[in-house]
Symmetry: C2
Subunit: 214 residues, 2 copies
């Protein structure tokens, strides 16, 4: 493919990044379907045609927003170190506390992940893979911890991994809707603790399981 020395111009790269930031904000505030290119363009003092010059289409812009976020997130993590084992759970709790001060980003992901389950949504594949990876990562942390303790990991690990991510996301939604009523950090911490405990040292059912349509 033709190499594009264009992309290397620092001024241009800065502008692209500026657009990506604005897009994150707008898609977070209004959703992908409802947010417009003009909204985004306004925030960076451009016309919507200028935005399209850089990204080709609205869908393409969304996809680049998502991967951009991942890249910068990963950059942060690698800078420090990728946590595993028990340290991962601590990291998740820490993230929940940090998120309580970043409503913007939290909203972007909450809105887009909800929207992504609609038919043929352009971000569907992205979120599908994202959850797959995160579940695997959390699952691996459970395995590590169990190995360290010399026990084999129970088969609840799969459920627990999904549940930890689920509870974090679900609490974010409730918190965004009603910040007074939900305390994001502590509630996440409590739930993660509960789930990790249930895996690492299981107890008899507290609520005898009902007779059911399985």
């Amino acid at each position: 493919m033709a190499k594009r020395q264009a992309r290397s111009r620092p001024e241009t790269l800065r502008k692209r990044a500026e657009i990506l930031h604005a897009a994150m904000e707008i898609f977070g505030a209004k959703g992908f379907a409802n947010g417009t290119l003009a909204d985004i363009a306004d925030q960076v003092d451009m016309t919507h045609a200028g935005v399209l010059h850089h990204f080709g289409s609205k869908t393409q812009l969304l996809l680049e927003v998502l991967t951009y976020r991942d890249e910068t997130d990963v950059a942060d993590l690698v800078e420090q170190h990728i946590p595993g084992g028990l340290e991962l759970f601590r990291h998740l709790v820490r993230t929940a506390f940090v998120n309580a001060h970043r409503a913007g980003i939290v909203q972007t992901f909450a809105v887009l992940s909800g929207e992504s389950v609609t038919d043929d949504h352009p971000a569907r594949a992205y979120f599908q893979e994202r959850y797959r990876n995160l579940r695997a990562e959390v699952g691996r942390a459970f395995e590590t911890v169990c190995a360290e303790r010399g026990v084999t990991a129970p088969d609840t690990v799969g459920h627990a991994s999904a549940a930890i991510l689920a509870v974090m996301d679900g609490l974010q939604v409730q918190w965004l809707l009603d910040p007074e009523a939900v305390d994001l950090g502590p509630a996440s911490e409590f739930a993660i603790e509960a789930i990790v405990s249930a895996v690492l040292d299981p107890r008899p059912p507290a609520i005898a399981t009902p007779d059911l349509p399985r």
Copy 2:
């Protein structure tokens, strides 16, 4: 207010209900912003103007869809009986298993609740109240159980109530995106068990809490 004998015509009431069903389906499949009145009208063999004749506006239709769903849900529950105490948790687990066979309804609520956190979304107030009520209901169940056991309810009840709803919602999203990878019923059951246990009979932290930005 003036009683509307118009509304009482059975044929008309049936048609309204038909429209509400179609709207639930469309808003669930495409979201509120992206689903159109024409989509809905098609499903009930009408023009979109016909739909507007019944509901006045798209927003009004959405609001009636939401309350309609609640009314029929409540009707079902009252038919049986509103569960409290431990029975409520069993009911929630049962619901999760049942939901695994109702992707349509699950998707509607997942999509709309996600969308509702956007600025000025017409369903925002609805979901805000819905979660408020549900948290209160779950909280009351915890109180009941604790009272039955002669202990005072711990202050983790608030976190736990939010977390139970959160984990159910979050698992639904992951399940909708990837039904092969997430087993909705069992995963919900596991998580609810874990959280209830943590409230009713707390244990020392499994993951020593980190030093943090509270």
